[in-house]
Assembly symmetry: D2
Homo-oligomer: 367 residues x 4
């Protein structure tokens, strides 16, 4: 019987891992049981966001010091830049305790993970990346012991991007030679890879031209984030498994646009946290983590009103989107340590995005 444990810790900077070190010291987290860390860092979330690399380095050094090189290297480090608005930099640390005891619970949180090989630059944003990710998701599901694809609630993918150097090294045979655009294509292909793995779209009918273009194709459970700090993919599957125990529960939904908070409210209600308005303090304390994607709606409108995210040449649209959807979700939850990441290509409907919430079941209840 495995048990998933999830810890949300504050970060005073991209390289501030003191809260994690303290949790190790105090025995609250077992370094050897850590399988993944999601980090919301305070960079721009785009090409030249080096906060992700700095965080990866700081986390990697700490994990290596407390475990061994192989164990540390196996931990999926999914850094997502951008804490625009009032979002707060934080870490979400995922532990899997093998013999944690307790009874299996059909709704208990399950976690699996996989790494892929390095993605050749010419494959980025193309079908080869879709397939590489789909295969990785299948492996991560097996790692989680999830058989039914319907039991998957969120697949978080960290994927690579193209730099000017990588484009040049590839001799120009790339899907795009614009670095910022490569992030979107990488997220797009990764999300379609998830959609294929989860049976949300049909691989046979998928063409390369659809990647980053045909927004009718999407996964409601994919969350992809691109970064300069890796060359392959790190894939983490969250869902419910049959052989997991513990008090953590997870739910998911898709937001139709950046201010569509009602699906999140419904998820909370299903998980035992019904909220009329903002969560009350006692309810809020039971929310362990919220992961969501946000993007500017490609048609330039939200519910018919024009937005200016796509015509702003000073601030990238992903930054706008994180701040805005982050504000909407923080208005519901009542705190700001939310893992909202930007760029939701093929992740939820156009202009919207997937959302997953992990809560702690009330003692003595079965939510």
């Amino acid at each position: 019987m495995r048990q998933a444990r999830v810890h949300r810790l504050p970060a005073a900077g991209p390289d501030d891992v003191t809260a994690l070190a303290a949790a190790f010291d105090a025995g609250r987290i077992d370094p050897g049981a850590v399988v993944a860390v999601f980090g919301k860092t305070e960079g721009n979330g785009n090409v030249n966001d080096f906060t992700r690399a700095l965080a990866t380095r700081a986390l990697g050094d700490l994990l290596a010091a407390r475990t061994d090189p192989a164990t540390a290297a196996a931990v999926c480090l999914v850094m997502s830049g951008g804490t625009e608005g009032g979002l707060s930099p934080h870490w979400i640390v995922f532990e899997v305790r093998p013999g944690a005891g307790g009874e299996a619970h059909p709704d208990a949180l399950a976690i699996g993970r996989a790494h892929t090989p390095d993605l050749p630059a010419p494959d980025l944003g193309r079908l080869a990346q879709v397939d590489m990710v789909a295969e990785g998701v299948a492996r991560a599901m097996r790692d989680a012991g999830i058989v039914d694809r319907g039991d998957v609630c969120l697949v978080q993918v960290k994927c690579p991007l193209l730099t000017s150097e990588r484009v040049a090294a590839a001799g120009g045979d790339v899907a795009t030679n614009e670095t910022l655009k490569s992030m979107g294509l990488s997220r797009a292909a990764s999300a379609l890879g998830v959609a294929v793995a989860l049976g949300e779209i049909d691989r046979d009918g998928l063409t390369e031209a659809a990647i980053g273009r045909d927004w009718a194709l999407f996964s409601t459970r994919a969350s992809a984030s691109a970064g300069i700090e890796l060359l392959g993919h790190e894939i983490v599957v969250l869902g419910t498994g049959r052989e997991w125990s513990g008090p953590l529960r997870i739910g998911h939904a898709a937001m139709a646009d950046g201010i569509d908070i009602e699906p999140a409210r419904q998820v909370l209600a299903r998980l035992g946290l019904p909220a009329s308005g903002q969560l009350e303090a006692a309810q809020r304390a039971r929310v362990v983590a919220l992961v969501a994607k946000a993007e500017a709606s490609p048609d330039g409108r939200i519910r018919g009103s024009r937005h200016t995210m796509l015509t702003d040449s000073d601030i990238a649209s992903t930054r706008h989107a994180r701040a805005f959807a982050g504000g909407a979700l923080a208005g519901l939850i009542g705190h700001t340590e939310l893992f909202v990441s930007g760029g939701a290509e093929h992740q939820g409907p156009p202009g919207g995005g997937p959302l997953a919430i992990i809560v702690r079941a009330a003692e003595g209840t079965t939510p």
Copy 2:
């Protein structure tokens, strides 16, 4: 018996006044009855935001063409730059129809306005500006026929800023020689002027050193916005008056921080729009306008969690704050044409800001 009418119109750009021209053409708005226009434009909202000047010019030209120079010049044009996140550029047009008929209603919306003389650059951010604004607010209240200060719900002030040229012309005798900082000081002194006029703080105890520093002093009903496009102040008072009729109602509250939407929910409930979660479509249609201020909390935290708005050297904190609070409020209201402006010095508690909502009373009811 006067009647206030308020119209929210979309803008396809800072100089797009076609919706207003169409309303004039169709007789929906009487050009000669327009007393003020609030405009949410898509600039950066800071020093070099020329969208406000462009909008002012476009509106002024249209009003002059449809009325006469004196009438046009008397219209208060309060342009607030910044539609970060998904906020939507729009105009809020205020009409006062003198003999509109109907019965006086004790809760009917009342509007008054005043212009001040040009503010000498050395006075900006100092007690002289506080006094100039306080005197203007008193005049605007008389214009609205509001006797009881408690009947004022919002005082919107458009105030000037300092440019490098104005600083140089003043021979350096200025409260600050940093242009961006001058915007904050101008808003600060204006807000304290409102607070003095409304009896929220005591003028006798106010020192120059407190302006822009002592955040314990604030008005819960002041909203100030600085711009390069004027040298004096435009002041608009919104409240309830005894000799006004019509279906519009107004309520106000103060948000304690950027995600504090519960006060807004309570205002809506008091105005006859109780909402569990986001407003439903029928309710939303009755919301005519929402005006709010947002700012980064000066202590760098929201409910204990660190935010990065004040350490971000790429995006001004006012831009972050508008996007985030805008998202929170849009999550409640359900649309994005919200007049959220940034920089809430002495406007509401530190990190929070005032908020006013104008709604249309349901037919046959007295909300």
Copy 3:
């Protein structure tokens, strides 16, 4: 005998035309003789740069007030946003005095202009735009009385861009749906139109796929600038004509990269201003105007060293390029009122750009 006159005037803001009004008042410039105004305004030079629209409006209003609507409408207003680094906002006013007297001089500055019809959104960035511009250049050359294509020194084109609205209105049949990218494509097609008109490239061999991609194709005399404030093209040809008199001379060259100032030094020497190092004050006074284009080299390198302009997601590469090339040229000239504009697609070699300098001949000399 016509005579070209060129005036460089400072601007205290995008809508500051006081220096031009004063020159009209003093009789230094004849409003009816103005054929074009180039304006360097202080916006971001990209999609949401409304300083160009504001400047266009201010100039148009002044010209209409001093001439008549038709004359004012015929003036080419070429606004280029972006005064990054220490570049200084200014106007370059071009007058053509018909019977100015004096003898024809084979090297005298000649000016011609043309307007094109509105460009349908689907044509932007495609061969139809190339052809529209090429035809306009031919007309502008005739207007200047320039027969030999070798006598053209610079063709300045102001071209349109796509907004989210225009893309939507076109039903998606557009070369790109990214607004910032549409600026580059519009400049690219315009530059190729100039190249076709000047015989620098062969129209028959030109394919649509080459636009914005095949950097081996370029004009060394095209300077194109895109803006939201127009829907057609404004085209101004500068060169030497047989029937022009006066003391103004013009030279041109192509910079190979952003720091390649030696060609500019050679142009100055040919025009009678030999400079070892920075121009001396007396020489500098004879430089009437400098027009240049700058861009980030597409390969990410300048003389082998990596630059970061194309991986910077905070500042657009055009802004970097203007500041950097602007600094290099200001180091040569010794002042900062330089008309350096960004985005040199097909304008000069990749990473470089065309350059033209107008000087006043020394009295009593024939440089």
Copy 4:
């Protein structure tokens, strides 16, 4: 007899130390002889520039792996963020070879260094910081064996800044609570510390109010750079010493404004590299390193023409200044690996900045 060696190495990213590792591997640089590394990294150069921390970490790890912890910790790591325009990220590695042989040369480059204790937050920007830096400079001069203050050519200081956290921890007793402003004050106090140490200003007459305000006080040889990645100061003195050998020579000058390249040209001439126009390739190869400071002139003008660096709320003025002065200097030198850093408070005259150039003497000559 000591010999100073200086190596300029490219960086493909803030954490790319492969060129340095390769130089260690090849024996071109002795890890144990490295005393300082200056790094030009590609962040925004302001508060939330984490490229400096990432670079510091990568360099520190490499040095620790190749030497020992104490030796590595003693190396001064002076990271300066910001490669705006076409500036190229690079490292300047300073070696001191103790028994390198050769004859002492009166003009040979000499290097000294010092670290200070952590600066308490309340001392930042105040006289206590001036004194701490002045004392450190004196130590660094002794380390270099420089007795005559006139033999110092450049003092490079890396100094700390205030974050929201540090301000809060200090209980508000700080010179400023604005993080970006704290960078300027830290540079200002550091520069005055250098000026005191070099006898350029009189410590007795210096008041706290002058720090960051009285621009008549400055050092022509101070270069200060603030960063979040350290709490004390790293100080490196470059000059000429009596007991140093080797082919490296150094010269210095002060630029009066951002385009004042003539002093740099004169320094080159004095060092044996006379240039009419841009350096020729053979000359350029002998330029080992160029270090300069740039800033927006506080009066908003360059040689009488308005600049917009101080009214731009989208891009910090330091970023503009680096790009512009960087372009001017690159136009002279002919390459882009220039260590131009921003914010020249009390470093050179207002709007200008100090400049030092290290060249390799031609073989067989004594420049």
